[in-house]
Subunit: 307 residues, 2 copies
């Protein structure tokens, strides 16, 4: 089946228990009518941690989030204030824009809001096309390590997402056989291109006692361990110096496939990490040159120096 049809029809199906949200999302997609635009659900978040879900749907190419607010969202001042605070927090921390569709309105009112939103999305895409920076949605490339190896550079906005650890290794010419330790799977591997930038594939699912949580709003990953001694040891070891990791975060996509998505280059935050909560990793790079290991913020014009 066509990959995009497969993906979008699953995205619709996923929201089908919330029928108004679902109606709104399907309308946005069909009215946009542009298969170069990618629409994604919240991906990194495990079901248990749904409280971390940013928004209902996200347009990664243009950084637009859509919240479909069913009438319950407006039932109390407290809820309204909470939603507003959340919106401001996301916008301030990520540089993204959050749009809300107010579903208290009638069909005409909802359709009007969607028409307005669709026009804003189209304008934003058009602007990128004019600047020559628009990256059309190409699912066949997103998952292909050979494609990115040839390209030599990966960015958050590329939506690079591999189906296997082997594919991560392939990108960096790392020896995949070294990712296994008997029956266990290591959580990362040294980067043969640059030993200072460790390659890491954390997951929100506990693995051998390791517990990781990814806060997409703050751009931080907290790494800890269920065993008290291991947690403290790990913290102490990392607290000594500066570590840098290239991170591929594990999640199941809407097609039920395992994915390891490039979420940036991270360093340990010595100020906020402690023996109690574990090691906090903060994003310092959104774009990575695979060969030279240079990384930078996506919006920055100049390269950051390698530490």
């Amino acid at each position: 089946m066509d990959e995009k049809l497969n993906y979008i029809s699953r995205l619709f199906q996923r929201t089908s228990s919330k029928r108004i949200e679902h109606y709104v999302i399907s309308r946005i997609w069909h009215l946009l009518d542009n298969y170069d635009i990618k629409m994604t659900p919240q991906q990194y978040v495990s079901r248990q941690q749904i409280k971390y879900a940013l928004t209902d749907v996200y347009f990664p190419q243009i950084g637009f989030h859509i919240e479909v607010n069913e009438p319950a969202h407006y039932e109390s001042d407290e809820r309204i204030q909470h939603d507003l605070k959340r919106k401001n927090e996301i916008e301030a921390n990520t540089g993204h824009t959050v749009f809300s569709i107010d579903c208290r309105q009638d069909l005409d009112g909802i359709h009007f809001q969607i028409a307005d939103l669709v026009s804003k999305i189209n304008n934003s895409v058009q602007e990128q096309i004019e600047k020559g920076i628009f990256k059309p949605w190409r699912p066949e490339n997103e998952h292909n390590p050979d494609y990115w190896k040839t390209k030599g550079k990966i960015s958050l906005s590329d939506e690079v997402s591999f189906h296997t650890i082997e594919d991560i290794c392939l990108l960096f010419d790392a020896d995949h056989s070294k990712t296994k330790r008997g029956f266990l799977r290591k959580g990362g591997i040294q980067n043969p291109k640059n030993p200072q930038l460790f390659i890491w594939w954390p997951s929100e699912r506990p693995r051998s006692g390791w517990l990781n949580t990814f806060d997409e709003v703050k751009g931080t990953i907290t790494e800890t361990h269920s065993d008290e001694k291991k947690k403290v040891d790990h913290y102490n070891w990392h607290a000594q110096e500066t570590h840098i990791r290239i991170v591929f975060f594990h999640y199941k996509d809407i097609l039920g496939r395992t994915n390891y998505k490039f979420v940036g280059v991270f360093t340990n935050d010595k100020e906020n990490s402690n023996a109690e909560i574990g090691t906090i990793w903060t994003r310092i790079g959104e774009t990575l040159n695979v060969e030279t290991s240079e990384y930078q913020r996506e919006e920055e014009k100049t390269n950051a120096n390698i530490v």
Copy 2:
């Protein structure tokens, strides 16, 4: 909540287990973008009798049926022939038109077929508007007996569908209290406007042993009883002479509400009924004048005489 939003979002939700069908149906609706056009699922058919379902979605105002054929439909010649036979049977018997969307194609191919279909729907509606015969979708009228009482005439294409037996009685000035027999509910009532046209509200759910099946393609209702003696007695009694019934068929709509929908004026088919299968009722009228009890075929120019 807006009645149409409620209805359409439920219609989408209902098809959500078949995600390609669902994708296609939501696209048709959003691209049509015309709230005067009604889209319905198959309604009269109980879950056990899903084999009777005509098509995936139906546009009652213009008599268009849409079949969304997932790739499995084309897997064998037998299946293809079966689908074709079914399409011909529906078109020949109902005067409707059946369109298929072939989902073996890629996204572009599916979108092209939908664009073509949407344009055909728009043309057909436009034609009706120009002829002055288009009936815009008005859910608030469909269920309102006072509206139809004032109007004085009901047709299949009006999608008249009452939520209660009381509402049926109201339309004909029948005494609602006479529809109850102790704890039991009668299956119909004499029409005070014209005793020759009995008012009947059959259901596909067995009631007090009565079993009814509605064949939408042939436009026939088979009435029988689980008790052998009652079945034969009933047949014998009806076989003697000509009976005419104004029929409101019972079903649960997609909002879970009870409905009794006007499906036409029927007479007992003496040729095909027999003691074995019971009484077969055949549609003879699609439009009914509530006051005079004149009925006629919707496409006919002249009134049929009352028997």
